[in-house]
């Protein structure tokens, strides 16, 4: 198993004395496996704990109880650099404090592969350019990141993630150096990759992720509240509701009017035509 979470619990430090311990728990007993080569979608309404769950799964946050295994070992036993060479995270939005160019952003993806004072070499530059090519953003390489549109920014950040996961040994990601037992694929984690994009960019990002998954053999784990997007891209969907797994399975198994109605707290009759439009095979 690439990634395996068992009985995760998490709550943010209490900010007010009015919240009780029980309702402050953002993740309340989630167990979840991601196998190499899968495309897994975490589907849930706003505030269901999707972002927090992704932070726990990618080792960015420490669970209060339960644990996450990367390959055969606890994710927290790895250094941040070691994790970063296997798991790349694309956040919902990226805003920069300073004015970097697109190429500089993508080269930052090489950070976990370089020594403390090492400067990116020709190989890193080639990897970055290849990542820009494969996301269709090579034309922007010299432009300031802040001048791009939302969809272009998202593709550039995905390119940086690809550069981060590239071990530099051929087009398929491989881990010849420093093997992690039981870990045979890189993992791309995306937090609501289409939340702030219009329809055209949603299709573009969807097609791009499918290509990355199919051609590069990268395992994809993403969160979304978009039924159509999840149905089109993922081979397995986890329904997350108030920090708990409501159901998980193939799109056809879990994207039923009854379950989706429960998940989003809407009438199942209202959910049915949306599911039909999303093209879920029954």
């Amino acid at each position: 198993m690439l990634l395996s979470a068992a009985d995760l619990h998490f709550r943010y430090p209490r900010s007010s004395k009015h919240t009780t311990a029980a309702d402050a728990e953002v993740i309340a007993g989630v167990s979840l496996d991601v196998a190499a080569g899968e495309a897994v979608g975490i589907l849930g309404p706003n505030g269901s704990g999707k972002t927090t769950l992704l932070r726990l799964l990618s080792g960015s946050a420490r669970p209060l109880a339960g644990r996450v295994r990367l390959g055969d070992a606890d994710v927290l036993t790895f250094s941040r650099r070691a994790i970063a060479r296997r798991i790349a995270v694309v956040p919902q939005e990226t805003s920069l404090a300073f004015d970097y160019t697109v190429l500089e952003i993508v080269l930052m993806g090489r950070y976990p592969h370089l020594g403390t004072f090492e400067v990116e070499g020709a190989r890193d530059l080639a990897i970055a350019m290849a990542a820009l090519e494969s996301t269709g953003t090579a034309a922007f390489a010299e432009r300031p990141f802040r001048t791009l549109s939302g969809g272009e920014k998202q593709r550039v950040v995905i390119a940086a993630a690809l550069a981060q996961l590239d071990s530099g040994k051929g087009s398929r990601v491989s881990f010849s150096e420093e093997k992690i037992p039981g870990l045979e694929s890189a993992l791309l984690v995306l937090d609501e990759p289409t939340a702030s994009l219009d329809l055209k960019y949603q299709f573009e990002i969807g097609a791009l992720l499918r290509r990355i998954h199919d051609e590069r053999g990268i395992t994809v784990l993403l969160s979304t509240h978009d039924l159509r997007f999840a149905a089109a891209l993922c081979n397995r969907i986890v329904l997350l509701s108030q920090g708990r797994v409501l159901a998980q399975g193939s799109p056809a198994e879990v994207l039923t009017p009854a379950l989706v109605g429960r998940l989003f707290d809407v009438d199942p009759e209202l959910a049915a035509p949306i599911l039909a439009a999303a093209g879920v095979r029954r």
């Binding site: 990226t94 920069l96 300073f98 970097y100 080269l107 930052m108 993806g109 990116e120 890193d124």
Partner: protein, 331 residues
């Protein structure tokens, strides 16, 4: 195709050249004009060579102090801006200079009565006190450091220490108040190499930290979480940046007083030239900041000669309008 970083190297080299030229040229500027060939003459003994004495004993220490203080403040500004992810941060935002000033005021006013060392030592002690308070507050309830708490604590500390400075000045006599005021205006008249050598080890430690911080600060620009998922040990970088930049600022202020605006003008100008990469911005700002303050000090010594203006007035007169221009033109 070349790496974007390598393209900035010539500009860093040019900034270095500007620093060297400024440090060598500025001692020639002043009320007594010096002959280049006489200053560097090997035939006239030093004891008889008045030009060389003025150059090496009176004016060069001042130029070197200006270079040290200017370069250090500019670099500390870059690191604070990177740490706080805010291009408008200065080396004084987190209260280091207010602490240093309080220390200096106490030494100037009560120095003769209490054995508390020189003004420089006292200002350094004040700076460390401020740093300790801000750090304790920012680290108290967080894993890592909260930059929000840091900013709020810094602003509050600045106000609180300013009140204490006013109190100390209120109880001091006229001569002490005059000295204190001159110190607060920023003064690079070090009179010997001693204060420079005294500050150099602290500045050296800080810059070793800066060299290590340059690349992680680039990644922090996209946010703490984003940097962490790319492999940056975020908490360690935050602590390192905070302590290294505070140490540098404290050391610089102990030499020249709280000279304003260098730590914000210089990084901004340099970013216009080399882009945002901290591996270029840090060295370029250091060299350019050194050249800038040496030039400002030369101006301060000559603009209404024979009266010498405190250099802080010159940097503020240049820096104030610059800052406003920055606010208006930045989107």
């Amino acid at each position: 195709m070349t790496s974007p970083m390598r393209r900035g190297v010539p500009i860093v080299a040019a900034c270095f050249g500007a620093m060297v030229v400024a440090v060598v040229a500025s001692p020639f500027i002043g009320s007594t004009s010096l002959g280049f060939s006489r200053v560097f003459s090997t035939t006239i003994p030093f004891a008889d060579n008045v030009d060389a004495q003025i150059f090496f004993v009176a004016r060069l220490p001042r130029a070197l102090a200006a270079a040290l203080v200017g370069g250090t403040l500019a670099a500390a500004g870059v690191v604070f801006q990177g740490l706080l992810r805010n291009p408008l941060a200065t080396p004084y935002t987190l209260g280091v200079s207010a602490g240093a000033s309080l220390g200096a005021m106490v030494a100037i006013t009560f120095g003769s009565a209490w054995a508390i060392g020189g003004v420089a030592t006292a200002s350094l002690a004040g700076a460390f006190l401020a740093v300790a308070i801000v750090y304790a507050l920012a680290a108290a309830r967080h894993r890592g450091l909260s930059t929000t708490v840091m900013l709020l604590a810094g602003v509050t500390l600045n106000a609180f220490f300013s009140a204490l400075i006013l109190f100390v000045q209120y109880v001091s006599d006229f001569a002490q108040t005059y000295r204190a005021l001159r110190w607060l205006m920023g003064d690079l008249d070090v009179a010997s190499y001693e204060p420079i050598l005294y500050a150099l080890p602290l500045v050296g430690v800080a810059f070793a930290g800066f060299a290590w911080l340059a690349r992680p600060l680039n990644l922090m620009s996209a946010g703490i979480d984003a940097a962490a998922t790319r492999g940056v040990e975020v908490e360690r970088v935050q602590r390192g940046a905070f302590f290294a930049a505070s140490l540098a600022t404290g050391a610089a202020v102990s030499v020249g007083g709280p000279i304003g605006f260098v730590g914000i003008i210089v990084p901004h100008l340099v970013r216009l030239l080399v882009g945002a990469d901290h591996r270029l911005v840090l060295p370029a700002s250091t060299f350019f900041g050194a050249a800038f303050l040496v030039a400002c000090d030369a101006l301060a010594r000559t603009v209404i000669a024979p009266i010498e203006l405190p250099v802080g007035i010159i940097t503020a007169v240049i820096g104030g309008p610059f800052f406003l221009w920055l606010l208006i033109t930045r989107r």
